[in-house]
């Protein structure tokens, strides 16, 4: 009884300590974001003179939001970003998970080559590829200025990391016995993959989905190279009108940032459930 109490008290203390640590870290992490939140309701003068003031000398203003939305053509850009991000993410997940499966389960030369190539390609600075890429697809094939081109390129560039992550997940977390049982039951590899392996990858799928969706949603460089027409602009390209070498309206930039980050936050909160769900509970059921 006494022992239990002691243990319980110890647990409470440990819990309290962890909570305190979390809160401190949380405040540090969130502080820059709070600065953005405070300053988005001020005009440029108040932002520069005192970024910490809750309300600027010129008072509270909501004006940055409509101004930013208007000059960046928010809804059009939002639609484009949505199409590009969703399609690219789904394609990346499907293609990378399949490739990772065949790579993990077979020691073929082609698999080894592909996987090493992918790993190595993850450290290519994008600047190396950007001019050759546009020379080829713009100069030779002339397929720039289409969303599909951007989507396929997004997928091509993000495949490496996604495959790498799925590779790790399949390698460590998917028991071979499960698959073998399925083969004995008469499943083909294709069926086994979709019925057994893919569902078990849920946490990784969610993780890769959020990481890639965020990368696609916020990517500036590649879309700016591929989409040279205004009606195709995604949010990051549309917001570049706020940045200049000699002047930048921080209020507009922050408003655009907040508007742009909401969808990703929502997606994150939604996907979190799957990341948390865990693999083994699924395995027992499946």
């Amino acid at each position: 009884m006494d022992e239990n109490k002691k243990a319980a008290r110890k647990k409470v203390v440990a819990h309290g300590f962890m909570m305190a640590l979390l809160i401190v870290l949380f405040v540090i992490f969130i502080f820059p974001f709070i600065l953005v939140l405070i300053n988005v309701f001020k005009n440029m003068g108040d932002i520069t003179s005192d970024p910490l003031a809750l309300i600027g000398a010129h008072g509270f203003t909501l004006q940055n939001f409509p101004n930013a939305m208007k000059s960046m053509g928010f809804w059009g850009a939002f639609g484009n970003s949505l199409i590009v991000t969703v399609t690219s993410t789904v394609l990346t997940l499907l293609i990378a998970a399949m490739a990772a499966f065949v790579i993990v389960r077979n020691k073929w030369l082609a698999c080894t080559l592909l996987f090493s190539g992918m790993i190595a390609s993850m450290v290519i600075p994008f600047q190396v590829l950007m001019i050759p890429l546009v020379s080829l697809y713009g100069g030779v094939f002339g397929v720039l200025n289409h969303r599909v081109t951007l989507i396929l390129m997004h997928v091509g560039f993000s495949l490496s990391m996604a495959t790498f992550m799925f590779h790790g997940a399949i390698h460590t977390n998917i028991p071979l016995e499960l698959e073998e049982a399925a083969y004995i039951d008469g499943c083909t590899r294709w069926q086994t993959y979709w019925k057994i392996v893919f569902p078990l990858l849920k946490p990784t799928i969610a993780t890769v989905a959020i990481i890639d969706a965020m990368a696609f949603w916020n990517d500036y460089l590649l879309p700016s190279l591929v989409l040279g027409r205004k009606e195709l602009y995604t949010i990051p390209i549309a917001t570049q009108v706020f940045y200049g070498a000699y002047s930048t309206d921080m209020g507009l930039v922050m408003a655009a940032l907040l508007l742009a980050m909401l969808p990703i936050l929502i997606l994150y909160l939604f996907l979190q459930r799957y990341i948390v769900e865990g693999v083994t509970s699924g395995a027992v059921k499946g």
């Binding site: 520069t48 000059s71 570049q240 000699y246 002047s247």
Partner: protein, 420 residues
């Protein structure tokens, strides 16, 4: 293998092209694209372009990029997708023009400007505006502190200027100066004045290249650096000069907490975001010199349009682009657009509208009186960043004047001459 892949690729891409409906453009209208590299006029240029399109039956689309001009142009040309009209910096006309720009020598406006850029006997660059460098002052703040009328021309010499600074300090403005620590300001704008104010600029630069120049004993170098030392001594951010933020400095100048800052009329686009004082302006950098350079600003044409010469642009588009340039120079609406909407100082003598912003007014006055020392447009591309790093060391007190001089000399000696 490679062939197969490229075939598959081409097929994939072709399929993608077909599934996406390309935006349908009315064919009878000529459509041109304009690349704007002056961010502060983007909004007005866009709305004016819409008006212009409706009026003239030419579809004009304006684009902007926050990449460096050279990088952006590089990608657009690499992808065979150039703009009809591109606004670039002077140095880009020299590097891009011969390959990518058409000859504009036959255009009427050539006779109305002294700022157009000519390469190998062809006019390739259309000047967008005039910009100049000097000391920006806040007259209201100075007068409020000293209680006397401020006449900028009284302070051409460093001695007089120092006297004024002391008065300001005595009057309670303890640190009357702001210094931008950005490398483009220090070594892209201030340092070049040392070359530009030499008697024979090209000859001087040649001595820099061949290593015979002796900056430490050069009168101009020392005169300018004496002035810079005085600016440094009165810098509001003296203790952390190298971490001073540009926005803060400009706001302090605009609102009169400091009185002086070295800069140019483009700084107006930052100053006007704050509660700026009514009476501001630009004056030459004070110097103890007899050569008259302390009565002039340094500057000239800034930002140039060129028209694409490649097969991607049709003759009809080129004509529409020429029409647009002519509209800027000769149409009343175009003239008013440059001066009133964009708040630029026009580069054409026939545009006599009054410039709207105070810094621009100063520049226009000096320009009209023939008191502009021309820009030197042939600095190597890495000059501002390499020499800027040295200048920042000087600003931070890490090296002395002799050390700075020898670093700049070493930079020049190690670089390949820019041909022109």
């Amino acid at each position: 293998m490679k062939k197969k892949v490229s075939l598959a690729m081409a097929a994939a891409m072709a399929a993608s092209v077909m599934t996406v409906s390309a935006p349908v453009m009315a064919e009878e209208n000529v459509a041109i694209t304009i690349f704007n590299s002056k961010m502060e006029i983007q909004t007005v240029l866009e709305s004016k372009a819409a008006e212009y399109s409706a009026e003239k039956g030419v579809d004009v689309q304006v684009y902007y990029s926050n990449d460096t001009v050279a990088a952006h142009m590089g990608t657009r040309y690499a992808s065979n997708d150039p703009y009809t009209l591109s606004m670039v910096d002077a140095k880009d006309i020299y590097s891009l023009g011969p390959d990518h720009a058409i000859d504009l020598s036959d255009q009427d406006w050539v006779k109305d400007t002294v700022h157009a850029i000519e390469v190998d006997g062809k006019v390739l660059g259309f000047p967008v505006c005039v910009e100049a460098r000097g000391i920006i002052y806040n007259k209201d703040a100075i007068e409020a502190t000293t209680g006397k009328e401020f006449v900028p021309t009284d302070y051409a010499t460093l001695d007089a200027f120092k006297g004024l600074l002391d008065e300001l300090v005595a009057g309670g403005m303890t640190t009357p100066v702001g210094i931008m620590k950005e490398d483009w300001s220090l070594a892209g704008h201030f340092l070049p004045e040392i070359y530009e104010e030499q008697e024979d600029v090209d000859a001087f630069v040649a001595t820099l290249y061949d290593g015979t120049a002796d900056l430490a004993n050069n009168a101009k170098f020392n005169a300018k650096m004496d002035t810079f030392d005085v600016l440094m001594a009165n810098n509001y951010a003296k203790d952390y000069a190298i971490a001073a933020e540009r926005n803060v400095t400009e706001q302090m100048l605009a609102e009169g907490q400091i009185a002086f800052m070295f800069g140019g009329n483009w700084d107006w686009s930052v100053i006007n975001q704050y509660d700026y004082s009514e009476n501001m302006g630009m004056m030459p950098v004070p110097q103890n010199t007899e050569d008259g350079t302390n009565t002039k600003l340094v500057g000239g044409g800034s930002k140039y349009f060129f028209i694409d010469s490649s097969d991607n642009t049709s003759d009809a588009q080129r004509q529409a682009a020429k029409d647009f340039l002519n509209w800027l120079v000769y149409d009343e609406a175009g003239q008013s657009f440059v001066v009133n909407d964009c708040a630029l100082v026009p580069a054409f003598s026939n545009n006599t509208l009054e410039v709207s912003d105070p810094l621009g007014q100063s520049v226009k006055a000096y320009s009209d009186a023939g008191n502009l020392i021309p820009n030197y447009n042939y600095l190597p591309d890495d000059h501002y960043s390499r020499c800027g790093a040295s200048f920042q060391k000087y600003l931070a007190g890490q090296i002395d004047r002799a050390g700075f001089a020898s670093e700049v000399e070493a930079y020049w000696a190690s670089t390949t001459p820019v041909e022109h």
